[in-house]
């Protein structure tokens, strides 16, 4: 009798196809579990947001950080987006003498689509990343645990103000973006391309309906909540020290950006 077991044959390398399928499958599982986690968190946040004590100080700090702090960068992005857009469309419309439509085209695209999407992307990069790293660091250094031992609910104390800030401030920034964008478009169209100010303004007024502005604002609110929820969720559940926080932030940025584009499509369908 021998105690030696025959050495197993080396496992065959899984084929490229199998590997891709496996990695796709893993990605899908990650997506589903993140969505599940974010939705659960959303209910938790909703429940805690209507309970006392209302933490106004924390809320104002976040409104300031997410909203006021993003004014410059969102305004600037809006201005340039409007300018570029006016430049491009006027060139195209000039081909069939329809320059008068530059104003309405820029206005509709901005209010319905671009303002909300771009504002939310800027907020994700500026405020979302900070939310995620801050919460992640608090988690891995046990500051979240410390809050809990002091009988303070961390969802209420840390997350509710951030999610509400996303909900209130991104729509405002969306309006700011559109306004800045239209200003930029006006200067390019009127100043640079010689379209008459009267044509630009009256045509825009004729075409733009309040409902277009509502659409942008609603999208802003939806994106604001989803971005804040995702960034908070990833940070709040970070583990594994500085490396884990970095990884959580990367994931949060990717997931937030994706959620903006997917929700943009979904809200678009619902509203038309």
């Amino acid at each position: 009798m021998t105690t030696q077991t025959p050495s197993k044959p080396a496992p065959s390398e899984p084929g490229l196809l199998a590997q891709s399928v496996a990695s796709f499958g893993k990605g899908l599982i990650d997506v589903v579990s993140t969505i599940g986690g974010v939705v659960t968190l959303a209910f938790d946040v909703a429940r805690w947001s209507v309970r006392r004590p209302f933490r106004l100080q924390n809320l104002f700090a976040q409104l300031d950080f997410v909203g006021v702090g993003s004014i410059f960068i969102v305004g600037l992005t809006g201005l340039f987006t409007g300018m570029v857009f006016a430049l491009q469309t006027s060139e195209a419309f000039a081909l069939f003498d329809a320059e008068s439509l530059v104003g309405p085209t820029v206005a509709l695209t901005l209010t319905r689509e671009l303002a909300a999407v771009f504002s939310a992307l800027m907020v994700t990069m500026r405020a979302g990343s900070a939310m995620c790293t801050e919460l992640g660091t608090m988690r891995v250094t046990e500051q979240v645990d410390a809050l809990e031992t002091m009988a303070v609910n961390p969802v209420q104390y840390l997350l509710v103000p951030r999610i509400l800030a996303g909900l209130f401030m991104v729509p405002m920034l969306t309006i700011l973006f559109s306004t800045a964008g239209m200003t930029g478009a006006y200067f390019v169209a009127v100043g640079g391309l010689g379209i008459s100010p009267g044509t630009f303004l009256t045509r825009t007024q004729q075409w733009l309906e309040p409902v277009d502005i509502y659409e942008g604002v609603i999208k802003g609110a939806v994106f604001g909540v989803s971005v804040a929820l995702i960034c908070c969720y990833k940070g709040f559940n970070a583990s594994g020290g500085a490396k884990g926080v970095g990884q959580a932030t990367t994931e949060a940025m990717v997931a937030s950006a994706l959620s903006i584009f997917i929700l943009d499509f979904i809200v678009g369908i619902v509203m038309h």
Partner: protein
């Protein structure tokens, strides 16, 4: 006061606690000894509901906290103060605001009363006035630990959990902290659980000492009883301090 019954906890494959039974009577101080990585911190986090066991009971003042929801848990946690191994100070707040935090959350003191209270706890820890406005990142490890101690006791809780309160402190401050634990017990009837690596501290402050090894409490009793323990892990641990008999 604290009764732990047949507590099990596994992280993935890692069986950390495998049937802990421990009882800490009201007004006593229990020191938990054990090697690094033996699960002392994990055990302590179960006592305050920060970790959820796979099975077993954690009974605080006659109530099992394991099945409790957030609201009940929050009520029970008001009886506790906890010192974290790595202090866990809020790094967005100054030292003063860190220590004042539990007071702001759970009392309605005026700013003057608040200041007096915080100051008295910082004094107890030998932390001077100029430290108050500093941020945790600007403190030494030992100072951070002391701020964590001050924050844990600022509400004068009935139960205090200390996770290695004196690790990283100089001998004089260590004696200070030991005295504080003893004074709280004798003067205010506080129940304390202390995780320690420092055997002289352990024998100094503990009414009872529990030795954690391989997921269970292998020896438990008064310091004298523990000295006589025949369990090999305990003997090896104590020999490093007292020398071989």
């Amino acid at each position: 006061m604290i009764d732990i019954v047949d507590l099990h906890k596994t992280f993935g494959e890692n069986k950390v606690l495998t049937g802990i039974n421990l009882s800490v009577p009201a007004g006593s101080t229990c020191v938990i000894l054990g090697g690094s990585g033996s699960g002392k911190t994990v055990l302590m986090k179960h006592m305050i509901g920060l970790l959820h066991p796979d099975s077993g009971k954690v009974i605080i003042d006659g109530e099992d906290i394991v099945p409790m929801g957030v609201d009940d848990l929050q009520r029970v946690r008001n009886k506790f103060g906890m010192v974290f191994q790595a202090a866990a100070l809020f790094d967005s707040m100054t030292v003063f605001e860190n220590v004042a935090f539990p007071l702001r959350e759970h009392t309605r003191l005026s700013e003057d009363e608040l200041y007096a209270k915080v100051r008295s706890k910082l004094d107890l820890m030998g932390l001077k006035r100029e430290v108050e406005s500093k941020f945790p990142a600007d403190l030494s490890g030992g100072m951070r630990k002391r701020v964590g101690l001050a924050r844990a006791v600022v509400l004068d809780p009935k139960i205090v959990l200390y996770d290695e309160p004196t690790t990283g402190l100089d001998p004089i401050t260590t004696d200070y902290v030991d005295e504080m634990i003893l004074a709280a017990q004798q003067g205010l009837g506080v129940t304390s659980v202390v995780i320690s690596h420092d055997i002289s501290s352990a024998f100094n402050v503990g009414d009872q000492i529990a030795f954690l090894s391989k997921g269970v409490i292998v020896a438990h009793g008064t310091p004298e009883e523990l000295r006589e323990s025949q369990h090999p892990a305990v003997k090896v641990f104590l020999e490093t301090w007292f020398g071989k008999n």
